[in-house]
Subunit: 440 residues, 2 copies
C-alpha cells in the first residue's frame, strides 16, 4: 500500500468502462462503494463521479496476493485498480474488471460517520456535519450536477441576449434597501457591510452605458429566518437592461427559465432519474400573469383574510400557489411594499411596475421597471424613511444621464429547488449558512 499517486493515472472513468472496450486493460480510480466476499468470488464495486464499476475476482483465477488486497479493502477508501475489462450482463454498464493490481491510495477510517450507500436518509443536520460524505450519494451529487448545468445554461442564455458579465463589490458602505438586516464588518478604520444585493451597482452600470449586464454572485442577509427557503448566504442571478421596462425583462426572465427547464431535461436525464423527479410536468414559458389585485381576491376567496396593500403572508402564498400550475408572475404590486427603486405607474402611483416570479408558493424572482429620475428616486427614499445622504455615489449616477432601465434578481438556490424537486433550500447549497450553521 502506497499513499502517493506517483506515476499512476486513471485511464478510464467508470462510464467509459463498457462493452466497447471489452478485453482492454484499464486503470480506474475511485471509492470502495461495496464489497461482497462470497468466498469463491469477491465482488467490489468502485464508485467515481460518473457512476459505478464492478471488480470481479474469482478466487481460482486470481493471485492470492490480489485476493488478500481486495479482502483488506474498507468501504469508502480511495483506490486505484488495474485490470482487464470483460463482458458481464448484470454488472453496471454490462462489464466487469478482472483485477491485476489493487492499490489503496488513501484508507477510510471505520466506522464512517454516515454511510454514503445507506438507503434510509439521515437527518439533514447529521448529513451536513459530514457533508463531504453526504455528497458521495448519487441523489445528493445529482442536485449539484443539475445546479452546475443550470448556471451554465443561464450564462449561455445571457450571452445570447448580448449581456455583459460584471463583478460588483460585496463589501459596501451602505444598505441597498431599508428593511433587510445587514452583516456589519470592521473594515480597517471604517464600518462596512456585506452586500445584500448587487442592485445599486447594476443600476450604476446602466448609468455607465453598459446597456445589458448580468452577475451571478453571493448575497448576504442577516435575517433571523428559520425556514426551508431562506439562507443567510445565497447565490443571486441578477440582470439589468437599459431602454427596457418591466414587461421586456419579464420576457427575458421567461426565456431564461424556459431555457433552464429545457436544458435540464436534455442534459440531466440521469440525475432527474436518480432524484425520481418529473420535470416535464412543469409548464414552460411564457408564464401567466396575475395582478396583485386579483391575487388578493383569490386569497380572500380561500377564506384567508388579507387587505389590499399588505404583503402576502406565508399562508396567503400557499393558498395562492395551490391555484397555480407552475411558474406565474404576480404584477402591479402596491408601491408602498416595494423598494424605493421600483417605478410607480404614472396614472396610478399607488401601484408600481414591479413583479415577482412565483413557482407555486415559492418566490423565485423580484423585478421592476426602475426609477431613473433623480427627483422621484429621492422622493421615494424619503417616503420609506431612508436618508438620501447615505446613497450619495448611487444617486450621483442619476444626475448625469441615467438610462431608463429595468431588471430582476433570481434566487439561484431556489431555482435549483424547482429543478430538483427538493423542499429544503439546504439541499441545493453545498455548505449552507443559516443562523445556526457556520461549518463546515
Amino acid at each position: 500500500m502506497d499513499y502517493l499517486l506517483g506515476d499512476l493515472r486513471r485511464t478510464h472513468y467508470s462510464k467509459e468502462v463498457n462493452p466497447e472496450i471489452s478485453g482492454e486493460e484499464v486503470l480506474i480510480m475511485g471509492w470502495v462503494h461495496e464489497i461482497r466476499d462470497l468466498g469463491g468470488i469477491i465482488f467490489v464495486i468502485i464508485r467515481d463521479r460518473d457512476g459505478l464499476v464492478q471488480i470481479t475476482a474469482p478466487s481460482k483465477k486470481i493471485d492470492a496476493s490480489i485476493l488478500e488486497d481486495l479482502r483488506a479493502l474498507r468501504k469508502e477508501s480511495v483506490v486505484a485498480i488495474e485490470g482487464t475489462v470483460q463482458d458481464a450482463g448484470k454488472a453496471p454498464n454490462g462489464v466487469e474488471i478482472i483485477p491485476a493490481k489493487v492499490i489503496t491510495l488513501n484508507p477510510a477510517k471505520q466506522p464512517l460517520p454516515i454511510d454514503p450507500t445507506e438507503k434510509v436518509k439521515a437527518e439533514i443536520d447529521t448529513r451536513l456535519n459530514s457533508r463531504f460524505l453526504d455528497l458521495r450519494k448519487s441523489n445528493v451529487s445529482s442536485i449539484f450536477k443539475i445546479k452546475a448545468n443550470m448556471l451554465k445554461t443561464v450564462r449561455d442564455y445571457f450571452y445570447k441576449e448580448g449581456m455583459i458579465e460584471i463583478n460588483t463589490p460585496k463589501l459596501v458602505a451602505s444598505a441597498t434597501e431599508g428593511g433587510t438586516e445587514l452583516f456589519p464588518i470592521t473594515y480597517f478604520e471604517k464600518e462596512a457591510f456585506l452586500g445584500q444585493s448587487p442592485q445599486l451597482y447594476k443600476q450604476m452600470m446602466m448609468g455607465a452605458g453598459f446597456d445589458k449586464v448580468f452577475e451571478i454572485g453571493q448575497i448576504f442577509r442577516a435575517e433571523e429566518h428559520d425556514t426551508l427557503r431562506h439562507l443567510n448566504e445565497a447565490v443571486s442571478i441578477d440582470c439589468e437592461i437599459s431602454f427596457a421596462d418591466d414587461v421586456d425583462v419579464m420576457r427575458v426572465l421567461d426565456g431564461m427559465i424556459t431555457a433552464v427547464l429545457k436544458s435540464t431535461k436534455e442534459n440531466c436525464g440521469r440525475e432527474l432519474e436518480v432524484l425520481e423527479y418529473d420535470l416535464s410536468a412543469i409548464p414552460e414559458g411564457p408564464f401567466p400573469e396575475l395582478k396583485y389585485d386579483d391575487a388578493i381576491d383569490i386569497i380572500n376567496s380561500k377564506g384567508i383574510d388579507i387587505e389590499w396593500g399588505e404583503d402576502l403572508s406565508r399562508e396567503a402564498e400557499k393558498a395562492l400557489g395551490d391555484t397555480q400550475e407552475g411558474f406565474y408572475f404576480l404584477t402591479d404590486w402596491p408601491s408602498a411594499i416595494k423598494p424605493f427603486y421600483a417605478m410607480p405607474y404614472e396614472d396610478r402611483p399607488e401601484i408600481s411596475h414591479a413583479f415577482d416570479l412565483m413557482y407555486k408558493n415559492l418566490e423565485i424572482s423580484s423585478g421592476s421597471t426602475r426609477v431613473h429620475q433623480y427627483d422621484l428616486l429621492v422622493k421615494q427614499m424619503i417616503e420609506r424613511d431612508l436618508n438620501p445622504d447615505g446613497f450619495g455615489s448611487y444617486l450621483k449616477a442619476f444626475e448625469y444621464g441615467m438610462a431608463p432601465h429595468a431588471g430582476w434578481g433570481v434566487g439561484a438556490d431556489r431555482l435549483a429547488m424547482v429543478l430538483t424537486g427538493v423542499e429544503n433550500i439546504r439541499e441545493t447549497v453545498l455548505f449552507p449558512r443559516d443562523r445556526h450553521r457556520l461549518t463546515p
Copy 2:
C-alpha cells in the same frame, strides 16, 4: 421632453447603423457624446455600448423644432433619436442619420464631474469617484469587455475539461491559512470571517468525489497593502482536480491561459486597438519552468541579496521578471514558505510540489499538489503554529477517503491586467476596494 420610455424602443445599436440599411428609418438610443453647431448644420454624435453614430441636421432641410431640440441637448444626456439613415463617407460606420424626432429621456446636469470624452486622463481617484462616467470612456469600458470575455473563455475551457462549477461559502468560521489577515464579521451570536480563499472547500469537494471542480468568486483579504497589484476584495478563479499532481494542473493552467490569450485576440480586436495594446507579443503556453533554486541564483547574479528559503521580495520579483519574456512557472518552493496544504517532496521534504505562475514580475497564480494524508496535514499545520482544532470539519474529510489531488487559484483581476496592459489593478475592477476606498 418626456422622461418615460413608454412604447419607445431602440431599433438598432450604433454598430448596426451602416450602409447596408441606408434609406431605412431607425430609432437609436444612447448618450450625447459630442455636439457641433456650425450654424447651417448641426452634428450630434450619439454613443451607445457598441460605438458612435452621427446625427446630421442641415438647417435648410430640417424642421425648426427639431433644430431647436438638437440645440437644447447637453453632453451626456440620454436621448432617443428617430431618423433616416444615409451614406456619409467620413462619419462613423460611413453613415449619418437625418433626424425626424429628438427625445431627451434623461438630461445630464452640467458641468459633469469628469468629462467622458476628455483626451487627457484624470487621476484614478477622481475617476473612481465618478466611476459611472469614467466607464463611459471606450478605453475604460474596453477593459471590462475583455474581462467579461476572459471569464467566459475560462468557463468554456473548464467545461471542456469536464469540470463542475461549485459555489462555496464566503462566510466561514476559521482562517484558510495562518498568515493572511481576515475581516471579522458579527454573525448573530457567533464570530465569523470572510473567506480569503475557497481552498479548504474545494479540497473538501475532492473528498466528496466531485473529481474536478472550479469556482469563480470573491475573496477577501484584510491586508494593509497600498500597491498597484493588491486589493482587499478580488475575484479568484479556482480549480481543484483529483488523482492529479502539480505537473498535471500546471498543464491545465497553461491551457487555460493560452485559451484566454487566443480568445482575447480573436474576440476583442477592437478593444485591444482602443487600448493600443499588442497582446500577440505575449508567448502562448506551455510556459517555461524555473526552479526556485535557479531563480535565487539569477536574482543573486543581478546583485540582489536573497538567501535560500526566503520569499521573493518585490525587488527580487522585478529583477527576475526582467529576465523573462512573459508567463513562466516558478517551481519547487521551500516548504516552509508555502501553506500547510502543499505536498513536500518525499525525498527532499524541505521543498514542496508547489508552483507560482508569474507574468514577468506579477504573480498570477499559486498552486500545488495538496497533502491528502491526514497525519502529514496535521503535522504541517502544527509546524506552522496553526491549531488543528480550528480546522475540524476540514480535517475530517481527510480521514474518510480523501483522493490525492492538486489545484491552483488565479487572480482574475491580475490576469485581466495582463490582457489589457494596464499597470494598476484598480483599472481592472469596476468598483475597487482598498484600504481607503469603500465607495462607490
